[in-house]
Every structure is written in C-alpha cells, then in structure tokens.
Symmetry: D3
Subunit: 217 residues, 6 copies
C-alpha cells in the first residue's frame, strides 16, 4: 500500500512544485506580467514587454472541471497562481479549486505566504486551523454548500470531506505564490531525511515507525 | 424610470456602505478578530478578546444563495468582507458572489484597495479592465463556466452578462475592505453634486444631460 | 469640435503614458537608480551601476515653467516621476506641476497607486474627492494661494480652476509611478471600445450619445 | 513516560502562549511602546504615553542565564519579544536564547510571521529547513561555535543538539511576535482533537497510534 | 551668542516635536482621520467617527506665508503633517514649506521614516545627501527656481541658501510623520548629555570643545 | 595623529561599503538566494537558479572570532548581511558581532533601513538612542552580560565600552542591508566636502576646526 501513496504524493508534490501559491508586494505599474522566457530571477518574476501583453495573460480556463480524485488522498488541487496566470505577478492573489471524493482529504499543511478564504460549492467539508496563541486550539467548522471559512496567514490547517458524495470548494489566497507545506511530507518525506531518532523523540513515536514513515513518504 | 433607478442605486450604495471590501496590513498575531462593540477606531478595526474568539468569527453562510437581481442592474453583489466575517480583520482578503440576470451588469468601477480575481460558476460574463500605461487599452474577455480573470489593483473595470440565462461568479479580493467605486455614481451621484458645467466639459456632454444624470443618480 | 479634443486627449494620454506616477516598495539599498538601458523588466525598474550614479540622477529642472494650457482642458500637467527622475526608483514618491487657465480643469480621475497632497501657488482651484464609505459623499474645497488639500489613495477626484486668472499647483504623490486614470477617457475612450449598450445602461444615457462620446474620446 | 511529557509540553506551550514571536509593520513614530494596561486591542499593541517611556522599556536582562533543560526535550527557549520588551512594539524584531542539553532538541516547527537567523555560541547544533519549491528538500547544516544559519519565513525547520555537552544559540526573528507552531503539538495536541481517522490517513499511521499520540500531546 | 541659539534651537525642536513628519502603512478604509480627542494610542493615530469627517480635515491654509527666518539659522520650516492635517493619518504623505534668508540653512539631518522630494520656488539652494554605499559620497546640487531634487529614505542631507535673497522651497515626504533628526542637536544636545569623552573621540574634537557645544545646544 | 585615523576610518568605511546591513520586502517564494554572478541590478539582488541553491547559501562561519580592535576606535564590526550570506536576500534580516577593547566605541550612527536589537555577551556597554519626538531625549542604558537593548528604526544611537576588559555583543537588524551612517564621517568626511562655513554654523564650531575635522575624516 505504501508504494502507490509515495507515487501519488510525489505527483501532488510535483504539481505543487510548479504551481505553488502566495502573498505579496505592492505593484509599481498597472501590471507586470511574468515573462516565462526571461533568464533573470528576482523576488517574484521579471515582466514581459507591456506592448505584448494580452487579455489572455490574465485568463485561465477550466476551473469547472473536477480534479482527478482517484488517488490515496481522494482529493485534487487545481491551482491558479502566477504559474498558470502570468498576469498575477506582483498582484498578491491566487485562486484554486479543491475536489474531494467521499472521505477525501488534504493533509495538515500551512501556506507560508498567504491567508486563505474558501467557499464550499457542494458537499460537506470539515476545515480547521490550529493557533498557537491561544495555544494549540483547534478552530474548526463543518462547511456545507455556500459556507465560507478563513484560515489566517501561516497557520496549520486541515480539510477533510465529511459528506457521502463529492465535495468541491474554491479557495482564494492573498499571494501570487502562497506556498503549500504538507506537514507529513515535510517532516517524514524531506530529502535528505531528517534524523529518525530526532523525529521519534519529537513525535513520541518508535524509531521503527518513523523509519517506516520515512520509507513511505 | 429614473426614480426606481435612484432607489436601487441607493440600496446598492448602502449595501456597499456597510460592506465595502480591501487590501492589507501584515498581521502581528495569529488573528485580530474585529470587535463590533469597540468604540475605538483605528486603521482597520480593533480586535476582540482572543479568549472569546470562536470558529464562527471566521465563518459565513449563504454564498450558495442567488442574490436578488430584480433591479435596474439585473445584478446583485453578496460581499463577504470584514463586515460579514470579523476574523478577516488584518488578514487582507475577502470574497463575494456576483449574480446577473440575462443582460445584467455592474457599472464601471474600481477597487481602490485590492486586486480582484474572479471565476465564473455559470453563464457568460464579459469582464474588461482599462489600463493607462499602455494608455486606455481595454483588456477584456468573455468568460464561460470555469473561466478565471484577474483585474489589477485600482484599475477601472466592468462586468456584464452576455448569456441568455443567469450568470454567477465568485470574486476574491486581496483586501479586508477593498472598497468599490461605481464610476457613474461617484461622478454623477456625488453629494453635494459636482459642478455640472465642469462635468459637461469633462465628459463632452450637454450640461442639460449632465443635470438630468445628476437628478437620476 | 470633437477632433481637437481627441488630439489633445491623445497628447495628454501619451504624456501620461511615458510619465505615469505611484506608491511603493521598501528600498533595500541607499538608492536603486533606474537604468533606462536595461532590457530586464521588473516590478518598478532595474537599477544602474551604483558607481555611475550622479547627483543629476536625482534632479529635474523646469518646474517653474508654466505648462501649455492652450488645449480644450485649459490645463497642463508636468509630471516628475521615475520617468523623469530615475533616482526615484524604489523610493515611492513623485511630484508634479498643474497649470490651469481660467476655467481650466482636469477630468475626474483616480491614482490607482498613490495618495495625493497638493498646494496651490496661485489662483483658485476647486478640488473634491468622492468616498464610497460613507457612500458617494463629495469632500471638496475651493483652494486659494497657500492652501493644501489631500486626496486619499485610489479615490475619484476632480480639479477645476474657479478663478479669473491662471492657477498653479504643486502636487506630491507617494508613488514613483502613481498612475492616472481619467474616468471619461477610460470609460468612453477605451480601445477596443466598451459595449455601448452597456455604457448606456450604466450611465443612464441614450446609446446614441454614448456612441458619440466614444467617437469623441 | 507520557505524563511528564504532556506536562512539560504544556509548560512550554504556555510559555509560548504569553511570549509568542513576529514580523511587522512600518512604525509611524519614533516608538510606540506597548501599554500593558490598555484594554484596547489592535493589530500589534496600543502604545503608552510617550512622556512616560523609559529606557527600561527597550531593555531586557538575563539572556546570559541558561534555560532549564531538565525536561523531555532537553531544551529551553528564552524569548525576548514584545511581551518581554514593550518597546519592540511596531518595530518588527525579536531575539531569543536557545539552550540544549546533550541530545536536546526543538520539535519541527514554523514561525508563521518571521524569518529566523541564529548563531551558535557553544556546542553543536544541527539545523535544517524544508522547502516545498523545490519540493520537500531538506537544507541542513551542523553548526559549531560561531556558525550562523538562516531559516526563511514560514518554513518547517528543526534544531537538535549533536554535541556531547551543552549547546547555546542566539536566534533573531524579524517580527515582534513571530509565533511558533510546534508541528507535533499542533497536529496531535490540538484542542479539540483533530479527527483520528483523518490523521491516521494523512500520516500513514495506525489509528491506534494516532490516538496514543493524541493522548500524549 | 550661544544663548539665542539655544533658544531658537529649542523653538525649532519644539515645533518639530509637535509636528514631526513620515512614511507609512496601507490604508484599510477610504480614510482614517486622526481623532485628537482620543486617549487611545496606536501605531499612527486612532480615527474619528467617519460620520463627523469634513473636507476641512484634509485641508491646511497658509503655505504661501513666509516663515520667520529671524533666527540664528536664517531659516524656517512650516510643516503640514498629520499633526496639522488629521486626514493624512494612514495615508503616508506630508508636505512642508522651507524658507531661507540669505545664508540661511538647515543643519545636517535625516528623516528616519521618509524619502523627500523638494522643489525650489525662488532663490538658490544647495542640497546634498551622503550615501554610505558607495561610502560617504556627497550627491549635491545647487537648485535654482523650478529645480527638483530627491533625498533617499533615511540618509543624512543638508540644505543651505546660496543666493543673495530669500529662498523658498516646497518639500514632500512619503510619511505622515517622517521625523526629523537634526544631527548636531541629536549628538550635542541630547538630554541627558552623551558622554563628552566619547563624543570627543568620535568627532576627533577636544573634550573642552565638545563640552562647550553641549552647553550651547 | 590624523593620518592613522583616516586610514582606519577608510578601512571601516570600506568594510561597510561591501557589507552594509537592512529592512525589507515580502518574499514571494521560499527563497531568492542572491546571485553574485548576475549583471542585473534590482531592488535587493537578483536570485540564482533554485536548483543550484545549497545549505551553504544560508550559512556563515566565524562569528565566534573576535574582530581586530587595534584601531583608533578600539572596536570592530563583523557583519553577516546579504553580502556574506546570499540566502538572506528578500528575507529582511541580518546579524553582526561587535567587539570593543576597553574604552572602545562606535561613533554615533543610524541604520536608515532597520531596527536593531543587541545582546551583550561579555563586558559592559553603554548604548543610547536619541529621539526627536519627544525631542532630543537620550534613552540609554549600561548593558552587562546578558542584557538586551532595542534601537528603533533610523534613530541616531551610540555604543561605547565602559568596562575594563573586552566587550562583545551580537546585534540583529531587520534588514538584509540595513545600512550604517556614521555621523562624524558622513558630516565631516563626505566626498566632495560639505561647505565648511555651513558646517561651522550648523555645529557652532570655528570654521578652522571644521576644516581640520574635514582633513582628518
């Protein structure tokens, strides 16, 4: 069972790799559409010639299409960030579609560079975030169709389908590249691996279990 | 015909009055949930006692419900900003639902404190924004179901239904209170009225027409 | 009568094209003087070699010279932004001179990326801005010599000479490239044109009048 | 063995509760020293009367004293944030002392509102952070006396003593209240508890183990 | 000769005390007019009830009036900051008038929270700023009527009249309360006095001279 | 005596030239490690290919080594800014070691782009900063081992050893390149020299003494 999980995790990780989310700068011109052909690298992305900018640079198509949830998570993320829409560069905003099969979920994660607001379009979704001050308190709700919930900047949060059918949500994040850190993958799937003795102590787990997790992630 | 328009404009204006949108600060704590009972006024809003904060402070219900488009605009805006969700305070984000009957529209407007990203859930919507550099160029698209479009910070933009049925969209803005300035109302509906000779010259309109507009708005 | 207006509007638009205004970032070095020869494009502008920077990079001459107000507006704008003074890059500030003949005016406009403060040096100038929250309220003053007025970020505002002679003002904006959106030009002069049925409904104007305006702007 | 861990975790959590860290705003005055007696709550903290401000408001004593590492972590954190030094309010900076006994560690954690730089004063400390783009890559170093390492904003990172004696480090964070989210506590120690079926699937652990962890944390 | 200097320095210092300048936050509403009656203190200033805000809150009169230059500096500063114009609160901008008699000057100073742009209205003014990277390089110009010069954020700069008559300039700063640190007063006029042995060594001056300076400032 | 001073000042100035400090932007990606080989210049620094980034890009070694205080200041500064650690780019933070022999000192200076927090590791150090509002008030403390002090953004401050032995401190600044302006060098050592008549009047010094200082610095 571990192998398929690893593969799918890698797919999602790759997906996120090329599509990560955001919060942002103050634009200094009407727009600064990201130039995919530039070899220069800056905070954010360099811009293309304004004279060549088209409406299509601010456009994305396909957010009505369900993501493929046939994977161990029973979930799919369709991001619309600066990677998909170059016109988002410098503008500090992105959007995404979340799909969940029954019992689908997204692992506990943080967005290091964005607050998130999400609205459920169909199904039932439990969403919760954990604060540290007040300490390790879980603010959570079961969201039904039309419900909205907010996750403050950088906090650990989770989403899991609690309905019997498919669940769909739209999430907006105030960053062009908000980032997503899936906690289990970051902790147990890091390359090179984090010392297993350390993880065993930090998570109060047997070292053997930690090493199994590290093999799986 | 002018009277009903005036009334509806007032309703929408009032609606916006209490619900205006945003872009934002950097949070200095996990959250700073707006305290509606505070008499202190600051940039943004003062916060309530963290010990009394509930998950409901980050929650809103009802975005699945169509807005009432039985008005001269044939359109409705259902905002979810810091006014509706006090937990959005300091977090720089908001969301809204847009409903359009056939031929419904939102007048040309700007958000002085936010970039906007919107996704069409059903129907057909033309969206365009006008840049000033390059000068007075109209970047526009007709969006179908699942299409996404971005409107950069502060630019004049417009939305009009171009389908035969209802159109629904979700818009996200990177501000807790982004503001909405409907250009016709701001120009012709300002109180006290802007000098009509001036408006006639600025808009290349007969003064009489300007004064009629000022009576209507 | 339409033709000269169009021409002059184009001149001013072009002027603004190459001279747009601003609000801004946080500088990360003593200065980052814009390099006009760089082919790289970023948020703001790339910098020239600090070793080649001169005092002249922070200098502009000629703000004592009246602008040419022999145009349908009876007004002229002399901007001093990052386009004129490359040393302003990353520093979030610009300045401009405004000249008005008797009855001269600047159409209703916004600066999408700056607050404005202006001081009248001679003549009489009515200045007003319209807020949306409180809704469509016109905060306006007639300014005489030595009077100062502030226009908050992104709000629609107007300036019109109300004296019998020339009026001169200095305006400062907290952006290196604040932008200027002349509302009539953005709405009726956009290229490609905004749908005239839509504009007719949004402005409560006859479609024929809208199309005449679109021909003029 | 579980019990003492729980207690110590609580102590540390409480400690963090009242002392959490940060990144920040732009000060609008020379200083805005936090007023502990104010009942008003804002983003950051309200300020005391400048006339009553003393040098002591910018002062803290005791960072030479080793923290008590006689706990299951073998580690101690002595924070100097806006909670300890009210003069840090609005200034976007804080500092802390870290103590480790041999084999001491701090669990994987993030600072949601700060970048961290740390310098080792004595001993040997492995520090690593995990990026998501590139995906789940572990950037880590073993730091000896005089070594410095940087952890970018919001990323998961870990610290563990790898020497045979005590290890001491000074960490600076660019926030007055950077926050600290210990991943194991946030995930397994949240109150109310996160659904154990969900955690089991997300972490690829037996539900029974998850429930044991939830009992421990 | 020392006595009058001390008095005038005090007057200017007091003037600055109550009128200090700025750079700033991002406004979260159309305006947040400073409320002088509030006893709450925050970063910037608390706001008054929007319903009571008037156009006068954004207005200042008198910048055409020469300041009184009959003082040892032969110079006068008339600031228009948030202290004079409460509507500037949260908007990150201020303006000032500078008057110089022949040979008048402003001592070397910095604005800790603003970039400055200034335009000479009449007379001749030498302005220079010193960078540290490149190191201790003096970027300076003699400005005549209509000339504009920029001083980057936080750098030491100086202004001295070099004409035979009066000199007048308008300066804009991108802060509501930019602050002004006159270097000689800060160094030699601090209360309590900075150790004179230290100042003697730092400035390569005789301790006796330092103590004379400290008596004068 | 002047010659050696000049030389050492130059050494320190050069040191600062290549090592200047900071406050900062908001990162738009996990990291943006400065690329020393890039010929492009931007606000901050362009980034290297993320695929080539190593842990060493976030690492610095040697802060345990005393700086060489055999100079007229009896002090040494060992900076760790974006110049030494390219991984600090866009992250808004830096650190430094300060060494003082008995009676060693750092001249009055400002950091134009950072707040500073420092902790004394050994010895005795007087630190003070001067505010302008309240006006020219000296907030100062003698710091012993383990004491911490904060210097707000942009304010003039000083550090002088008051112990009989060596003094060591660690300072953190919330900027990748905070800048350091040594007041005596900026005022009396600027190139080209500031007019000596002006400096004499501004500092209430004999012109002859000013010219001697200018020869020394």
């Amino acid at each position: 069972m571990a192998k398929p999980v690893v593969i799918v995790l890698s797919i999602i990780a790759l997906n996120v790799f090329y599509t990560a989310f955001a919060f942002g700068p103050i634009p200094l011109q009407d727009f600064c559409v990201a130039d995919p052909t530039s070899s220069t690298r800056v905070n954010g992305l360099p811009c293309k010639d304004p004279a060549t900018v088209q409406a299509d640079d601010f456009f994305f198509s396909g957010l009505h299409l369900p993501g493929n949830t046939t994977n161990p998570f029973g979930a799919a993320l369709t991001p619309v960030t600066v990677t998909q829409v170059p016109g988002l560069n410098t503008l500090g905003l992105s959007i995404a579609r979340l799909d969940f099969a029954a019992s689908g979920f997204i692992p506990p994660h943080t967005h290091p560079r964005a607050t998130e607001i999400l609205v459920v379009l169909e199904g039932s979704l439990e969403v919760g975030f954990i604060t540290t001050n007040p300490g390790y308190k879980n603010f959570n709700k079961v969201l039904e169709k039309g419900d909205v919930f907010v996750v403050p900047l950088g906090l650990v949060h989770y989403q899991r389908s609690v309905g019997t059918g498919n669940t769909v949500a739209i999430a907006a994040l105030n960053g062009q590249n908000p980032g997503i850190i899936a906690v289990p993958s970051a902790v147990f799937g890091a390359e090179p691996a984090i010392n297993s003795d350390y993880l065993a102590k930090a998570f109060l787990l047997d070292k053997k279990i930690v090493e199994e997790l590290q093999a799986k992630f």
